[in-house]
Assembly symmetry: C2
Homo-oligomer: 334 residues x 2
């Protein structure tokens, strides 16, 4: 029996958070592994040729983009295992439409992102940056400058209740907020979460909103000025999903005025200029798309690696793979 | 039937967090209520005389101290209902020893304090002040300056597992830390918490410590330099209990060096001078004994009021009261 050929093509260097020694060792026990550096120097024809020669192609953060031509002729390629989450940048939709099996990390980071979202919700609700500023400036006890909301009884609206949203509910439930969720694609909401049928109903009945929807054409720019205006004073927005779901200009206007509070792990674009005034706002905590990431990344296998290795084993054994991407799932994914 | 006479003597003005209109209304439905302002102008003999004339005395934050002489002659006084937690400042031990029933708010604030402790643990573990500083200074993604620990798998040591400790465990359990507890007075630890038999064992096996013990002669100054030295680099101390449990000089040395991180709602004494350098440390979040308090205090009945009113009704009906203080409980209480 010939060994399966595993291939990864990094645009420059393989991302060290994914491609560390323990992961490479584990892959080498499953097949013959080739890792190509500086793939950005290859033409798309050359990339396609290399990919056609492998059995399983592994993409990850920092991969080259696969060419559309693989949809027509995939050679010996059987399966594309994307180690991370977002695949749009790396794998064209045409490959999925052509029936090539593609998986991603599924729920590997759901709990980590949810833990980041809970951190932002608690820290914003208790006005942590204002407290820190107040104490650094020589103040001590509260003097009307900040408000520390309790989560118990807080009306908490979830925009999206997929894998991350459900992990968030699991973490936040013991704090006993009153939870509402808007998610037309989630058939069974977790216990204790009441369904609403529109974003208007969600924002009109919430003190705080946690965004856990994927970014798609359906969700882009849906958190509008009108919805934000429905939140009460000191209302909280937590976004650990994608910045483009929110009308950022409208949100920043509410934050600049000091009316709302926010914990924003993501922005659109996902960065602020060094001199952007928002960096100094005391009612916002920015996560730099990093609040859910463990630091330092441990050099041991993480859940993303374990999911990847498990799916490669499933493929080699002919068992069903997990977190397979199809057109319907892709349409709702970030 | 004569109406029970309810009395409160404030040292200056009644504390508005306790003595707002809704609470006063509710008490007036249970008996005739007298509230004396500026009780600090009264002599202790005069205070004793007034208290001897009432049926139920209500003490709270901002009360005068009751005189020892009530232990010998309590007149018509049947019961002292302390609306808040710590009673030492307000009610002498001699009254409890003389058999006068005294209650406090029991677990009324346990969940609020526990929510504050979780906020501090998450914020410290994710290095929130350093992240905020980094972004305000023009940085963005992590650059080795901070570390964001995940709670999953974190070795979390609980020093004390009474009412607040158990509420903390309820909130933190879904994050899946590995929990150890040291509490010689807690017979049954919550599920998932492993008992250790010494503080050495606790600190020697933990990445983070949450202090939920009461302050007593047994616990004073027990978190020593030697114990703190057992924690790993970047280890986290969360204290929402009492500052005097910790050797503060030793803790501040570990924090000034940047080796440990801490979320400190309490200090000994419970304040820092405006120019104290600790106020600027990026590895500490100070709560000013306020992190668990809801702001603004709602003008509706809170759990402390409901516990108080319930106990007064129980007393008037001859039913057993909750949260009765006895010498054993007092010895372990803050």
């Amino acid at each position: 029996m010939t060994q399966p050929r595993l291939l990864h093509i990094a645009a420059t260097n393989p991302d060290p958070r994914v491609w560390h020694a323990a992961f490479i060792d584990a892959l080498q026990r499953l097949g013959s592994l080739t890792v190509i550096r500086n793939g950005q120097a290859l033409g798309s024809g050359e990339i396609a040729d290399r990919v056609r020669e492998c059995t399983i192609y592994l993409s990850s953060w920092g991969s080259v983009a696969l060419p559309d031509s693989l949809a027509v002729d995939r050679g010996s390629l059987e399966y594309v295992c994307h180690v991370n989450g977002t695949i749009r940048k790396f794998i064209p939709e045409s490959l999925i439409e052509a029936g090539l099996p593609v998986t991603n990390w599924g729920d590997a980071l759901a709990r980590d992102v949810a833990e980041g979202a809970v951190t932002l919700l608690l820290s914003c609700s208790k006005d942590l940056p204002r407290r820190i500023d107040h104490i650094r400036a020589g103040g001590w006890r509260e003097d009307g400058r900040y408000r520390g909301w309790q989560l118990e009884g807080l009306r908490l609206g979830l925009y999206g209740c997929g894998r991350i949203g459900r992990a968030f509910v699991e973490l936040i439930s013991p704090f006993r907020p009153c939870m509402l969720a808007y998610d037309p694609y989630c058939d069974a909401l977790p216990e204790g979460v009441r369904r609403v049928d529109s974003l208007e109903e969600l924002f009109g009945n919430a003190d705080a909103i946690a965004i856990h929807a994927g970014l798609s054409e359906e969700t882009r720019n849906t958190v509008t000025a009108a919805l934000l205006a429905m939140l009460p004073d000191h209302g909280v927005i937590v976004n650990t999903s994608r910045g483009a779901i929110v009308d950022q200009q409208a949100l920043f206007a509410e934050l600049a005025s000091g009316r709302l509070r926010a914990g924003l792990d993501v922005l659109e674009p996902d960065y602020l200029a060094p001199d952007h005034p928002a960096r100094q706002w005391p009612n916002v905590i920015f996560g730099a798309h990093d609040i859910g990431n463990p630091r330092p990344w441990p050099a041991t296998l993480m859940r993303m690696h374990r999911h990847c290795l498990d799916n490669i084993r499933r493929h080699l054994d002919g068992r069903p793979k997990r977190f397979v991407m199809d057109a319907r799932r892709l349409a709702r994914s970030t």
